[in-house]
Protein backbone atom coordinates (compact mmCIF):
# COMPACT_ATOMS: atom_id res chain seq x y z
CA UNK A 1 0.00 0.00 0.00
CA UNK A 2 2.87 2.28 0.81
CA UNK A 3 4.30 1.60 -2.63
CA UNK A 4 0.95 2.40 -4.19
CA UNK A 5 0.79 5.72 -2.40
CA UNK A 6 4.29 6.49 -3.56
CA UNK A 7 3.29 5.84 -7.14
CA UNK A 8 0.18 7.99 -6.84
CA UNK A 9 2.03 10.87 -5.27
CA UNK A 10 4.81 10.51 -7.82
CA UNK A 11 2.30 10.77 -10.61
CA UNK A 12 0.81 13.83 -8.92
CA UNK A 13 4.23 15.43 -8.93
CA UNK A 14 4.65 14.58 -12.58
CA UNK A 15 1.27 16.12 -13.32
CA UNK A 16 2.16 19.36 -11.67
CA UNK A 17 5.48 19.40 -13.46
CA UNK A 18 3.62 19.89 -16.71
CA UNK A 19 3.47 23.63 -17.23
CA UNK A 20 0.15 25.40 -16.92
CA UNK A 21 0.24 26.73 -20.47
CA UNK A 22 0.25 23.24 -21.93
CA UNK A 23 -2.78 22.24 -19.91
CA UNK A 24 -4.72 25.36 -20.84
CA UNK A 25 -4.22 24.94 -24.58
CA UNK A 26 -5.61 21.42 -24.74
CA UNK A 27 -8.93 22.33 -23.10
CA UNK A 28 -12.04 21.04 -24.85
CA UNK A 29 -13.94 23.25 -27.22
CA UNK A 30 -10.93 25.39 -27.99
CA UNK A 31 -11.35 27.71 -30.94
CA UNK A 32 -9.34 29.97 -33.13
CA UNK A 33 -9.11 33.68 -33.67
CA UNK A 34 -7.74 35.54 -36.62
CA UNK A 35 -5.80 38.60 -35.64
CA UNK A 36 -5.51 41.05 -38.52
CA UNK A 37 -2.89 43.76 -38.27
CA UNK A 38 -4.24 46.21 -40.84
CA UNK A 39 -1.42 48.58 -41.76
CA UNK A 40 -2.48 52.16 -42.42
CA UNK A 41 -0.88 55.56 -42.62
CA UNK A 42 -2.77 58.50 -41.22
CA UNK A 43 -6.14 57.13 -42.31
CA UNK A 44 -5.13 55.65 -45.69
CA UNK A 45 -4.44 52.01 -46.41
CA UNK A 46 -0.70 51.37 -46.22
CA UNK A 47 1.12 50.37 -49.39
CA UNK A 48 4.73 50.33 -50.52
CA UNK A 49 6.06 52.90 -52.99
CA UNK A 50 3.08 55.19 -52.49
CA UNK A 51 3.20 58.82 -51.31
CA UNK A 52 1.55 59.59 -47.98
CA UNK A 53 1.16 63.15 -46.74
CA UNK A 54 1.63 63.91 -43.07
CA UNK A 55 1.59 67.63 -42.25
CA UNK A 56 4.17 69.27 -44.45
CA UNK A 57 6.01 66.00 -45.14
CA UNK A 58 5.56 63.25 -47.69
CA UNK A 59 6.52 59.69 -46.79
CA UNK A 60 7.13 56.85 -49.20
CA UNK A 61 7.99 53.39 -47.88
CA UNK A 62 9.95 50.43 -49.18
CA UNK A 63 9.52 48.31 -46.09
CA UNK A 64 7.49 48.05 -42.88
CA UNK A 65 8.21 45.09 -40.62
CA UNK A 66 7.78 44.37 -36.92
CA UNK A 67 7.68 41.49 -34.48
CA UNK A 68 4.55 40.82 -32.45
CA UNK A 69 5.09 38.53 -29.48
CA UNK A 70 3.54 37.06 -26.35
CA UNK A 71 -0.04 37.48 -27.44
CA UNK A 72 -2.42 37.25 -24.50
CA UNK A 73 -6.20 37.23 -24.53
CA UNK A 74 -8.09 38.44 -21.49
CA UNK A 75 -11.42 36.73 -20.77
CA UNK A 76 -14.53 38.20 -19.19
CA UNK A 77 -13.33 37.14 -15.73
CA UNK A 78 -10.08 39.02 -16.27
CA UNK A 79 -8.02 35.83 -16.63
CA UNK A 80 -5.15 35.95 -19.08
CA UNK A 81 -4.74 33.24 -21.67
CA UNK A 82 -1.27 33.30 -23.12
CA UNK A 83 -0.87 31.99 -26.66
CA UNK A 84 2.15 29.66 -26.54
CA UNK A 85 4.94 30.27 -29.01
CA UNK A 86 3.35 33.50 -30.23
CA UNK A 87 6.18 35.22 -32.09
CA UNK A 88 5.02 36.61 -35.43
CA UNK A 89 6.70 38.72 -38.08
CA UNK A 90 4.19 41.17 -39.54
CA UNK A 91 5.37 42.90 -42.66
CA UNK A 92 4.98 44.53 -46.01
CA UNK A 93 8.25 44.49 -47.85
CA UNK A 94 9.86 44.15 -51.24
CA UNK A 95 12.54 41.50 -51.77
CA UNK A 96 15.36 41.81 -49.24
CA UNK A 97 18.97 40.96 -49.91
CA UNK A 98 20.05 39.47 -46.63
CA UNK A 99 23.69 40.49 -46.51
CA UNK A 100 25.37 38.52 -43.77
CA UNK A 101 22.66 35.90 -43.61
CA UNK A 102 22.42 34.53 -47.11
CA UNK A 103 25.21 36.38 -48.76
CA UNK A 104 25.53 34.86 -52.15
CA UNK A 105 22.51 32.84 -52.92
CA UNK A 106 20.04 34.71 -55.11
CA UNK A 107 17.56 31.87 -54.81
CA UNK A 108 17.20 32.45 -51.08
CA UNK A 109 16.79 36.20 -51.11
CA UNK A 110 13.91 37.04 -48.79
CA UNK A 111 10.96 37.45 -51.15
CA UNK A 112 8.56 40.38 -51.33
CA UNK A 113 5.95 39.67 -48.68
CA UNK A 114 2.75 41.14 -47.33
CA UNK A 115 1.57 39.58 -44.12
CA UNK A 116 -1.15 41.02 -41.91
CA UNK A 117 -2.97 37.99 -40.51
CA UNK A 118 -2.07 35.86 -37.54
CA UNK A 119 -4.18 32.85 -36.60
CA UNK A 120 -4.31 32.10 -32.89
CA UNK A 121 -5.22 28.46 -32.42
CA UNK A 122 -6.47 26.39 -29.51
CA UNK A 123 -7.86 29.30 -27.56
CA UNK A 124 -10.00 27.97 -24.68
CA UNK A 125 -13.69 28.56 -25.26
CA UNK A 126 -15.01 31.68 -23.60
CA UNK A 127 -15.82 35.37 -23.82
CA UNK A 128 -12.87 37.68 -24.30
CA UNK A 129 -12.74 41.37 -23.64
CA UNK A 130 -9.15 42.48 -24.25
CA UNK A 131 -5.91 41.59 -25.99
CA UNK A 132 -2.29 42.22 -25.10
CA UNK A 133 0.85 41.72 -27.13
CA UNK A 134 4.46 42.80 -27.22
CA UNK A 135 6.02 44.84 -30.01
CA UNK A 136 9.47 43.36 -30.51
CA UNK A 137 11.02 40.31 -28.86
CA UNK A 138 11.20 39.84 -25.10
CA UNK A 139 14.55 39.74 -23.32
CA UNK A 140 14.97 35.97 -23.03
CA UNK A 141 14.73 35.41 -26.76
CA UNK A 142 16.26 38.76 -27.72
CA UNK A 143 19.43 37.87 -25.81
CA UNK A 144 19.81 34.36 -27.18
CA UNK A 145 19.47 33.89 -30.89
CA UNK A 146 19.76 30.11 -30.65
CA UNK A 147 16.40 29.83 -28.91
CA UNK A 148 13.52 29.23 -31.22
CA UNK A 149 9.86 29.89 -30.67
CA UNK A 150 7.09 30.67 -33.13
CA UNK A 151 8.48 32.44 -36.17
CA UNK A 152 11.68 33.68 -34.54
CA UNK A 153 14.58 33.23 -36.92
CA UNK A 154 17.76 34.97 -37.88
CA UNK A 155 17.14 34.04 -41.49
CA UNK A 156 14.73 36.83 -42.36
CA UNK A 157 16.70 40.01 -41.93
CA UNK A 158 15.09 41.17 -38.69
CA UNK A 159 18.23 40.64 -36.60
CA UNK A 160 21.55 42.30 -35.95
CA UNK A 161 24.21 39.68 -36.34
CA UNK A 162 27.06 41.69 -37.76
CA UNK A 163 30.49 41.38 -36.28
CA UNK A 164 31.11 42.89 -32.82
CA UNK A 165 27.62 44.29 -32.71
CA UNK A 166 24.74 43.77 -30.36
CA UNK A 167 23.47 40.36 -31.38
CA UNK A 168 19.72 40.79 -31.06
CA UNK A 169 16.45 41.23 -32.93
CA UNK A 170 15.33 44.35 -34.76
CA UNK A 171 11.92 44.99 -33.19
CA UNK A 172 10.45 47.30 -35.81
CA UNK A 173 11.74 48.59 -39.12
CA UNK A 174 10.28 51.20 -41.47
CA UNK A 175 12.38 52.32 -44.42
CA UNK A 176 11.80 54.54 -47.45
CA UNK A 177 12.10 58.25 -48.09
CA UNK A 178 10.70 61.38 -46.51
CA UNK A 179 10.40 64.73 -48.28
CA UNK A 180 9.70 68.21 -47.03
CA UNK A 181 9.79 71.08 -49.53
CA UNK A 182 12.82 70.42 -51.71
CA UNK A 183 14.61 68.33 -49.10
CA UNK A 184 14.54 64.57 -49.42
CA UNK A 185 15.99 62.10 -46.94
CA UNK A 186 16.43 58.36 -46.88
CA UNK A 187 14.34 57.09 -44.01
CA UNK A 188 15.40 54.16 -41.86
CA UNK A 189 13.65 54.09 -38.53
CA UNK A 190 14.29 50.97 -36.49
CA UNK A 191 13.81 49.96 -32.87
CA UNK A 192 15.40 47.24 -30.78
CA UNK A 193 17.10 46.67 -27.39
CA UNK A 194 15.41 45.14 -24.34
CA UNK A 195 14.51 48.52 -22.84
CA UNK A 196 12.41 49.25 -25.93
CA UNK A 197 10.26 46.12 -25.75
CA UNK A 198 6.73 47.43 -25.32
CA UNK A 199 3.52 45.71 -24.37
CA UNK A 200 0.35 46.96 -26.01
CA UNK A 201 -2.90 46.41 -24.11
CA UNK A 202 -6.15 46.99 -26.00
CA UNK A 203 -9.74 46.62 -24.86
CA UNK A 204 -12.10 45.17 -27.45
CA UNK A 205 -15.15 47.34 -28.30
CA UNK A 206 -17.33 44.44 -27.08
CA UNK A 207 -16.66 40.98 -25.71
CA UNK A 208 -16.20 38.31 -28.36
CA UNK A 209 -16.98 34.62 -28.13
CA UNK A 210 -14.28 32.15 -29.04
CA UNK A 211 -14.90 28.41 -29.24
CA UNK A 212 -14.88 25.35 -31.43
CA UNK A 213 -18.10 26.45 -33.06
CA UNK A 214 -17.28 30.13 -33.44
CA UNK A 215 -14.03 31.52 -34.78
CA UNK A 216 -13.46 35.15 -34.08
CA UNK A 217 -11.71 37.96 -35.91
CA UNK A 218 -9.98 40.89 -34.29
CA UNK A 219 -8.83 43.65 -36.62
CA UNK A 220 -6.13 45.94 -35.33
CA UNK A 221 -5.45 49.25 -36.97
CA UNK A 222 -1.71 49.78 -37.28
CA UNK A 223 -1.19 53.46 -38.02
CA UNK A 224 2.48 53.78 -38.96
CA UNK A 225 2.24 57.58 -39.07
CA UNK A 226 1.88 57.52 -35.27
CA UNK A 227 5.34 55.97 -34.96
CA UNK A 228 6.76 59.34 -36.03
CA UNK A 229 4.77 61.41 -33.50
CA UNK A 230 7.06 63.99 -31.97
CA UNK A 231 10.03 62.80 -34.04
CA UNK A 232 11.81 65.26 -36.30
CA UNK A 233 12.41 62.80 -39.13
CA UNK A 234 14.06 65.42 -41.33
CA UNK A 235 16.68 65.94 -38.62
CA UNK A 236 17.05 62.25 -37.72
CA UNK A 237 15.94 60.25 -40.74
CA UNK A 238 18.03 57.32 -39.51
CA UNK A 239 17.01 55.97 -36.15
CA UNK A 240 19.06 53.09 -34.77
CA UNK A 241 20.94 52.14 -31.65
CA UNK A 242 23.22 55.19 -31.92
CA UNK A 243 20.17 57.47 -31.71
CA UNK A 244 19.19 56.02 -28.36
CA UNK A 245 16.84 58.80 -27.21
CA UNK A 246 14.97 59.04 -30.52
CA UNK A 247 14.75 55.26 -30.71
CA UNK A 248 13.19 55.10 -27.30
CA UNK A 249 10.65 57.78 -28.32
CA UNK A 250 9.74 55.78 -31.44
CA UNK A 251 9.42 52.61 -29.35
CA UNK A 252 7.12 54.45 -26.94
CA UNK A 253 4.97 55.45 -29.93
CA UNK A 254 4.70 51.82 -30.98
CA UNK A 255 3.77 50.92 -27.42
CA UNK A 256 1.10 53.57 -26.94
CA UNK A 257 -0.09 55.10 -30.22
CA UNK A 258 0.39 52.94 -33.31
CA UNK A 259 -2.01 50.11 -32.46
CA UNK A 260 -5.76 50.39 -31.88
CA UNK A 261 -8.70 48.02 -32.27
CA UNK A 262 -10.70 48.58 -35.42
CA UNK A 263 -13.22 45.78 -34.96
CA UNK A 264 -13.81 42.54 -33.12
CA UNK A 265 -16.42 39.92 -33.81
Amino acid sequence: MKKLLTIISLSAILFTSCSKDELVTVADGAGKTTLTFDATFNGSDFALNKDFALGTKTFNFTKFRYWVSNVTLVNAAGEEVKVPGSYYLLEETGAINLVGVNNDNAATIYPATKREDVVLKEIPAGDYKAIKFGVGVDQKYNDNMSLQSGELSQLNGMTNVSWMWLTSYIFTSATGTVKEGTASKTLKVETGLNANYKTVALNLPQSIKIGASKSANIVINVDLSKAFDGIDVMATPTVGASQAAVMSAVAANYGGKVFSVKSAN
Partner: protein, 360 residues
Protein backbone atom coordinates in the same frame (compact mmCIF):
# COMPACT_ATOMS: atom_id res chain seq x y z
CA UNK B 1 -1.48 -8.63 -2.28
CA UNK B 2 -5.22 -9.10 -2.91
CA UNK B 3 -6.96 -8.59 -6.23
CA UNK B 4 -8.42 -5.17 -5.45
CA UNK B 5 -5.06 -3.71 -4.65
CA UNK B 6 -3.55 -5.26 -7.74
CA UNK B 7 -6.08 -3.49 -9.96
CA UNK B 8 -5.52 -0.20 -8.18
CA UNK B 9 -1.82 -0.69 -8.45
CA UNK B 10 -2.05 -1.33 -12.15
CA UNK B 11 -4.20 1.71 -12.85
CA UNK B 12 -1.84 3.86 -10.82
CA UNK B 13 1.00 2.59 -12.94
CA UNK B 14 -0.94 3.33 -16.11
CA UNK B 15 -1.69 6.80 -14.83
CA UNK B 16 1.97 7.24 -14.13
CA UNK B 17 3.15 6.14 -17.55
CA UNK B 18 0.41 8.18 -19.22
CA UNK B 19 1.57 11.27 -17.41
CA UNK B 20 5.16 10.74 -18.37
CA UNK B 21 4.26 10.44 -22.02
CA UNK B 22 2.00 13.51 -22.02
CA UNK B 23 4.72 15.56 -20.38
CA UNK B 24 7.40 14.48 -22.74
CA UNK B 25 5.35 14.74 -25.90
CA UNK B 26 5.99 18.42 -26.49
CA UNK B 27 9.71 18.03 -26.41
CA UNK B 28 10.34 14.71 -28.07
CA UNK B 29 8.28 12.87 -30.64
CA UNK B 30 6.89 9.50 -29.58
CA UNK B 31 9.30 7.63 -31.84
CA UNK B 32 11.89 5.72 -29.92
CA UNK B 33 15.08 7.68 -30.40
CA UNK B 34 17.99 7.35 -27.99
CA UNK B 35 18.46 10.39 -25.77
CA UNK B 36 21.80 12.20 -25.49
CA UNK B 37 23.87 11.53 -22.36
CA UNK B 38 23.65 14.45 -19.91
CA UNK B 39 27.04 15.96 -19.09
CA UNK B 40 28.36 18.36 -16.48
CA UNK B 41 31.35 20.67 -16.50
CA UNK B 42 34.30 19.39 -14.51
CA UNK B 43 35.26 22.43 -12.48
CA UNK B 44 38.52 22.28 -10.50
CA UNK B 45 38.20 23.20 -6.84
CA UNK B 46 39.86 26.61 -6.99
CA UNK B 47 37.47 27.96 -9.62
CA UNK B 48 34.05 29.40 -8.77
CA UNK B 49 31.00 27.20 -9.20
CA UNK B 50 29.24 27.55 -12.51
CA UNK B 51 25.54 27.18 -13.20
CA UNK B 52 24.30 24.91 -15.98
CA UNK B 53 22.73 26.64 -18.94
CA UNK B 54 19.08 25.65 -18.75
CA UNK B 55 18.42 26.63 -22.37
CA UNK B 56 21.24 24.55 -23.78
CA UNK B 57 21.89 21.62 -21.45
CA UNK B 58 25.22 19.91 -21.99
CA UNK B 59 25.35 16.39 -23.33
CA UNK B 60 28.36 14.26 -24.16
CA UNK B 61 27.16 13.96 -27.74
CA UNK B 62 26.41 17.69 -27.99
CA UNK B 63 29.90 18.59 -26.79
CA UNK B 64 31.46 16.17 -29.26
CA UNK B 65 29.30 17.53 -32.09
CA UNK B 66 30.40 21.05 -31.19
CA UNK B 67 34.01 19.97 -31.26
CA UNK B 68 33.64 18.43 -34.72
CA UNK B 69 31.92 21.60 -35.98
CA UNK B 70 34.59 23.81 -34.40
CA UNK B 71 37.23 22.15 -36.58
CA UNK B 72 35.10 21.86 -39.74
CA UNK B 73 35.86 24.23 -42.64
CA UNK B 74 32.34 23.63 -43.98
CA UNK B 75 31.30 26.34 -41.54
CA UNK B 76 32.87 29.03 -43.73
CA UNK B 77 31.57 30.39 -47.02
CA UNK B 78 34.66 29.32 -48.96
CA UNK B 79 34.96 26.03 -47.05
CA UNK B 80 38.56 26.86 -46.14
CA UNK B 81 38.22 28.28 -42.64
CA UNK B 82 37.06 26.70 -39.44
CA UNK B 83 36.72 28.32 -36.00
CA UNK B 84 40.11 26.78 -35.26
CA UNK B 85 41.74 28.76 -38.06
CA UNK B 86 41.76 31.78 -35.75
CA UNK B 87 41.44 29.94 -32.42
CA UNK B 88 44.47 27.64 -32.14
CA UNK B 89 44.52 25.27 -29.19
CA UNK B 90 48.34 25.34 -28.84
CA UNK B 91 48.16 29.05 -27.95
CA UNK B 92 45.02 28.90 -25.79
CA UNK B 93 42.72 29.32 -28.78
CA UNK B 94 44.19 32.67 -29.84
CA UNK B 95 45.89 33.44 -33.16
CA UNK B 96 49.26 35.19 -32.51
CA UNK B 97 48.22 37.95 -34.93
CA UNK B 98 47.27 41.51 -34.06
CA UNK B 99 44.56 41.93 -36.68
CA UNK B 100 44.20 38.86 -38.82
CA UNK B 101 43.35 39.01 -42.51
CA UNK B 102 42.78 35.32 -43.12
CA UNK B 103 39.01 35.84 -43.35
CA UNK B 104 37.09 35.23 -46.58
CA UNK B 105 37.43 38.87 -47.72
CA UNK B 106 41.17 38.88 -46.87
CA UNK B 107 40.67 42.31 -45.24
CA UNK B 108 42.28 42.84 -41.84
CA UNK B 109 39.81 42.75 -38.96
CA UNK B 110 39.48 45.72 -36.63
CA UNK B 111 39.81 43.73 -33.44
CA UNK B 112 42.19 41.06 -32.17
CA UNK B 113 41.06 37.44 -31.95
CA UNK B 114 40.15 36.71 -28.31
CA UNK B 115 41.26 33.57 -26.48
CA UNK B 116 38.73 30.82 -25.78
CA UNK B 117 38.78 29.35 -22.31
CA UNK B 118 36.79 29.57 -19.09
CA UNK B 119 33.86 30.83 -21.13
CA UNK B 120 31.28 29.15 -18.92
CA UNK B 121 31.88 32.05 -16.49
CA UNK B 122 31.64 34.73 -19.17
CA UNK B 123 28.11 35.81 -18.28
CA UNK B 124 28.51 39.52 -18.93
CA UNK B 125 28.91 39.42 -22.66
CA UNK B 126 31.12 38.10 -25.43
CA UNK B 127 33.27 40.06 -27.91
CA UNK B 128 35.60 42.81 -26.74
CA UNK B 129 32.61 45.06 -26.09
CA UNK B 130 30.11 42.45 -24.84
CA UNK B 131 27.90 42.93 -27.88
CA UNK B 132 26.70 39.38 -27.61
CA UNK B 133 25.04 38.07 -24.48
CA UNK B 134 25.95 34.40 -24.76
CA UNK B 135 28.10 31.95 -26.69
CA UNK B 136 25.14 30.79 -28.72
CA UNK B 137 24.43 34.22 -30.18
CA UNK B 138 28.09 35.13 -30.41
CA UNK B 139 28.85 32.50 -33.02
CA UNK B 140 26.59 34.26 -35.52
CA UNK B 141 29.08 37.15 -35.68
CA UNK B 142 32.16 35.36 -37.02
CA UNK B 143 30.06 32.86 -38.98
CA UNK B 144 28.30 35.47 -41.07
CA UNK B 145 30.76 38.40 -41.17
CA UNK B 146 32.09 38.83 -44.69
CA UNK B 147 35.55 39.59 -43.29
CA UNK B 148 35.56 36.37 -41.29
CA UNK B 149 33.84 33.11 -42.25
CA UNK B 150 31.23 34.74 -44.50
CA UNK B 151 28.86 31.81 -44.36
CA UNK B 152 25.34 31.80 -45.70
CA UNK B 153 23.21 30.27 -42.94
CA UNK B 154 20.95 28.50 -45.45
CA UNK B 155 23.98 27.10 -47.23
CA UNK B 156 25.41 26.00 -43.89
CA UNK B 157 22.30 23.93 -43.20
CA UNK B 158 22.39 22.45 -46.70
CA UNK B 159 26.06 21.53 -46.51
CA UNK B 160 25.72 19.87 -43.12
CA UNK B 161 22.57 17.99 -44.16
CA UNK B 162 24.57 16.44 -46.98
CA UNK B 163 26.80 14.68 -44.44
CA UNK B 164 25.07 11.55 -43.04
CA UNK B 165 27.21 11.58 -39.90
CA UNK B 166 26.02 15.12 -39.07
CA UNK B 167 22.39 14.20 -39.76
CA UNK B 168 22.74 11.35 -37.28
CA UNK B 169 24.56 13.41 -34.65
CA UNK B 170 22.19 16.40 -34.76
CA UNK B 171 19.21 14.06 -34.58
CA UNK B 172 20.63 12.40 -31.49
CA UNK B 173 21.55 15.64 -29.71
CA UNK B 174 18.64 17.89 -30.67
CA UNK B 175 16.13 15.37 -32.00
CA UNK B 176 15.38 17.24 -35.19
CA UNK B 177 16.68 18.11 -38.60
CA UNK B 178 19.83 20.20 -38.76
CA UNK B 179 19.18 23.90 -38.12
CA UNK B 180 21.66 26.76 -37.94
CA UNK B 181 20.48 27.51 -34.40
CA UNK B 182 21.50 24.02 -33.29
CA UNK B 183 24.92 24.57 -34.87
CA UNK B 184 25.21 27.55 -32.50
CA UNK B 185 24.13 25.45 -29.54
CA UNK B 186 26.55 22.63 -30.25
CA UNK B 187 29.45 25.05 -30.70
CA UNK B 188 28.53 26.70 -27.39
CA UNK B 189 28.44 23.35 -25.60
CA UNK B 190 31.95 22.50 -26.76
CA UNK B 191 33.27 25.95 -25.88
CA UNK B 192 31.85 25.78 -22.35
CA UNK B 193 33.99 22.69 -21.74
CA UNK B 194 37.18 24.61 -22.54
CA UNK B 195 38.22 25.02 -18.92
CA UNK B 196 41.81 26.04 -18.25
CA UNK B 197 42.88 25.52 -14.65
CA UNK B 198 45.79 23.11 -14.80
CA UNK B 199 48.73 25.52 -14.68
CA UNK B 200 51.56 25.23 -12.16
CA UNK B 201 49.82 27.98 -10.21
CA UNK B 202 46.62 25.89 -10.06
CA UNK B 203 48.45 22.80 -8.84
CA UNK B 204 50.14 24.93 -6.18
CA UNK B 205 46.93 26.59 -5.04
CA UNK B 206 45.12 23.24 -4.96
CA UNK B 207 47.98 21.87 -2.84
CA UNK B 208 48.74 19.05 -5.24
CA UNK B 209 51.67 17.13 -3.69
CA UNK B 210 54.97 18.30 -5.08
CA UNK B 211 53.57 21.47 -6.69
CA UNK B 212 55.58 24.54 -5.78
CA UNK B 213 56.14 28.09 -6.92
CA UNK B 214 59.54 29.77 -6.60
CA UNK B 215 59.95 32.69 -4.23
CA UNK B 216 60.08 35.05 -7.22
CA UNK B 217 56.87 33.56 -8.62
CA UNK B 218 55.20 33.92 -5.21
CA UNK B 219 56.32 37.53 -5.07
CA UNK B 220 54.82 37.96 -8.56
CA UNK B 221 51.55 36.39 -7.40
CA UNK B 222 51.30 38.90 -4.55
CA UNK B 223 52.13 41.76 -6.92
CA UNK B 224 49.50 40.68 -9.46
CA UNK B 225 46.86 40.56 -6.72
CA UNK B 226 47.93 43.96 -5.39
CA UNK B 227 48.54 45.85 -8.62
CA UNK B 228 46.42 44.09 -11.27
CA UNK B 229 43.73 42.42 -9.16
CA UNK B 230 41.06 45.10 -9.41
CA UNK B 231 40.37 43.96 -12.98
CA UNK B 232 42.27 40.68 -13.33
CA UNK B 233 40.59 39.39 -10.23
CA UNK B 234 39.99 36.07 -8.55
CA UNK B 235 40.94 32.63 -9.70
CA UNK B 236 39.79 33.38 -13.24
CA UNK B 237 42.15 36.39 -13.34
CA UNK B 238 39.47 38.51 -14.96
CA UNK B 239 36.32 40.27 -13.76
CA UNK B 240 34.65 39.68 -17.18
CA UNK B 241 33.86 43.39 -17.09
CA UNK B 242 34.76 46.43 -19.18
CA UNK B 243 37.39 49.08 -18.48
CA UNK B 244 39.18 51.93 -20.16
CA UNK B 245 42.83 51.11 -19.50
CA UNK B 246 44.18 54.31 -20.98
CA UNK B 247 45.56 53.13 -24.30
CA UNK B 248 43.82 55.86 -26.34
CA UNK B 249 42.96 59.51 -25.82
CA UNK B 250 40.07 59.68 -28.25
CA UNK B 251 37.48 57.19 -29.47
CA UNK B 252 36.39 58.12 -32.98
CA UNK B 253 32.93 57.26 -34.22
CA UNK B 254 34.23 55.39 -37.30
CA UNK B 255 33.18 51.92 -38.44
CA UNK B 256 29.96 51.82 -36.43
CA UNK B 257 31.75 52.73 -33.23
CA UNK B 258 34.35 49.97 -33.38
CA UNK B 259 36.85 52.13 -31.44
CA UNK B 260 34.33 53.16 -28.81
CA UNK B 261 34.28 49.82 -27.03
CA UNK B 262 31.46 49.14 -24.63
CA UNK B 263 29.83 52.46 -25.52
CA UNK B 264 28.69 51.10 -28.89
CA UNK B 265 26.65 48.52 -27.00
CA UNK B 266 25.38 50.47 -24.00
CA UNK B 267 25.32 54.02 -25.44
CA UNK B 268 26.24 55.15 -21.96
CA UNK B 269 28.97 57.82 -22.13
CA UNK B 270 30.52 56.36 -18.99
CA UNK B 271 31.38 53.29 -21.10
CA UNK B 272 33.32 55.18 -23.76
CA UNK B 273 36.54 53.38 -24.66
CA UNK B 274 35.96 50.46 -22.31
CA UNK B 275 36.94 46.99 -23.45
CA UNK B 276 36.62 43.61 -21.79
CA UNK B 277 39.26 42.44 -19.31
CA UNK B 278 41.01 39.40 -20.77
CA UNK B 279 42.19 36.69 -18.36
CA UNK B 280 45.85 36.57 -17.34
CA UNK B 281 45.74 32.80 -17.60
CA UNK B 282 47.91 31.53 -20.48
CA UNK B 283 48.95 35.13 -21.10
CA UNK B 284 52.48 34.07 -22.05
CA UNK B 285 50.97 32.20 -25.00
CA UNK B 286 48.55 34.82 -26.21
CA UNK B 287 50.58 37.77 -27.52
CA UNK B 288 49.97 40.26 -28.99
CA UNK B 289 47.85 42.11 -26.43
CA UNK B 290 44.91 44.55 -26.17
CA UNK B 291 41.72 44.59 -28.24
CA UNK B 292 43.69 45.53 -31.33
CA UNK B 293 46.84 43.57 -30.53
CA UNK B 294 48.97 46.71 -30.41
CA UNK B 295 51.47 45.49 -27.78
CA UNK B 296 53.70 42.73 -29.04
CA UNK B 297 54.94 41.48 -25.67
CA UNK B 298 54.32 41.71 -21.92
CA UNK B 299 57.14 44.23 -21.45
CA UNK B 300 55.21 46.67 -23.59
CA UNK B 301 52.04 45.92 -21.63
CA UNK B 302 53.68 46.41 -18.22
CA UNK B 303 55.46 49.55 -19.41
CA UNK B 304 52.10 50.88 -20.54
CA UNK B 305 50.58 50.41 -17.09
CA UNK B 306 53.70 51.84 -15.46
CA UNK B 307 54.19 54.97 -17.52
CA UNK B 308 52.14 54.98 -20.71
CA UNK B 309 48.55 55.55 -19.59
CA UNK B 310 46.78 58.20 -21.63
CA UNK B 311 44.17 60.37 -19.98
CA UNK B 312 40.55 60.39 -21.10
CA UNK B 313 37.38 60.97 -19.08
CA UNK B 314 36.60 57.29 -18.57
CA UNK B 315 40.05 55.95 -17.61
CA UNK B 316 39.57 53.39 -14.85
CA UNK B 317 39.87 54.78 -11.32
CA UNK B 318 42.16 51.90 -10.38
CA UNK B 319 44.80 53.33 -12.72
CA UNK B 320 45.11 56.53 -10.67
CA UNK B 321 47.58 56.80 -7.82
CA UNK B 322 46.64 58.49 -4.57
CA UNK B 323 48.31 61.70 -5.71
CA UNK B 324 46.08 61.79 -8.78
CA UNK B 325 48.77 60.79 -11.24
CA UNK B 326 48.09 58.06 -13.77
CA UNK B 327 49.99 54.79 -13.77
CA UNK B 328 50.87 51.81 -11.60
CA UNK B 329 54.32 51.99 -10.01
CA UNK B 330 56.25 48.85 -10.98
CA UNK B 331 60.02 48.49 -10.39
CA UNK B 332 62.23 46.45 -12.69
CA UNK B 333 62.50 43.70 -10.05
CA UNK B 334 58.72 43.70 -9.65
CA UNK B 335 58.29 43.49 -13.40
CA UNK B 336 60.53 40.43 -13.49
CA UNK B 337 58.59 38.83 -10.63
CA UNK B 338 55.25 39.52 -12.30
CA UNK B 339 56.45 37.96 -15.54
CA UNK B 340 57.79 34.95 -13.64
CA UNK B 341 54.41 34.44 -12.01
CA UNK B 342 52.53 34.90 -15.27
CA UNK B 343 54.62 32.08 -16.75
CA UNK B 344 53.26 29.87 -13.99
CA UNK B 345 49.75 30.57 -15.37
CA UNK B 346 50.54 28.73 -18.60
CA UNK B 347 48.37 25.62 -18.76
CA UNK B 348 50.08 22.99 -20.91
CA UNK B 349 47.56 20.37 -19.88
CA UNK B 350 44.90 22.60 -21.48
CA UNK B 351 46.75 23.39 -24.69
CA UNK B 352 47.57 19.72 -25.17
CA UNK B 353 44.27 18.25 -23.98
CA UNK B 354 43.18 15.75 -26.63
CA UNK B 355 39.51 16.34 -25.72
CA UNK B 356 39.78 19.82 -27.20
CA UNK B 357 41.83 19.03 -30.27
CA UNK B 358 40.86 18.35 -33.87
CA UNK B 359 38.98 15.02 -33.85
CA UNK B 360 40.01 14.26 -37.42
Amino acid sequence: MNGKYAVLHLSALMLLSGTVISCKKDHRPVENFPAPTPARLEVPGNLPKVADDADNPLSAEGIELGRILFYDARLSGNNKLSCASCHRQDIAFSDATALTSIGVSAKPLHRHTPTLFNLAWAKSGLFWDGGSKNLESQALGPLTSEDEMHQDLYELERELKAVPDYVKRFKLVFNREITSTDVLKALAQFQRTLISAGSRYDLYIRKVPGATLSSQELQGLALVHAKCGSCHQGELFTDYSYHNNGIDAIFPDDLEGIYQGRYRVSFDLADMGKFKTPSLRNVMLTAPYMHDGRFINLDQVLDHYRSGITYSATVDRALYQNDGNLGIPISQAEKAAIKAFLSALTDDAFTKNKKFSNPN
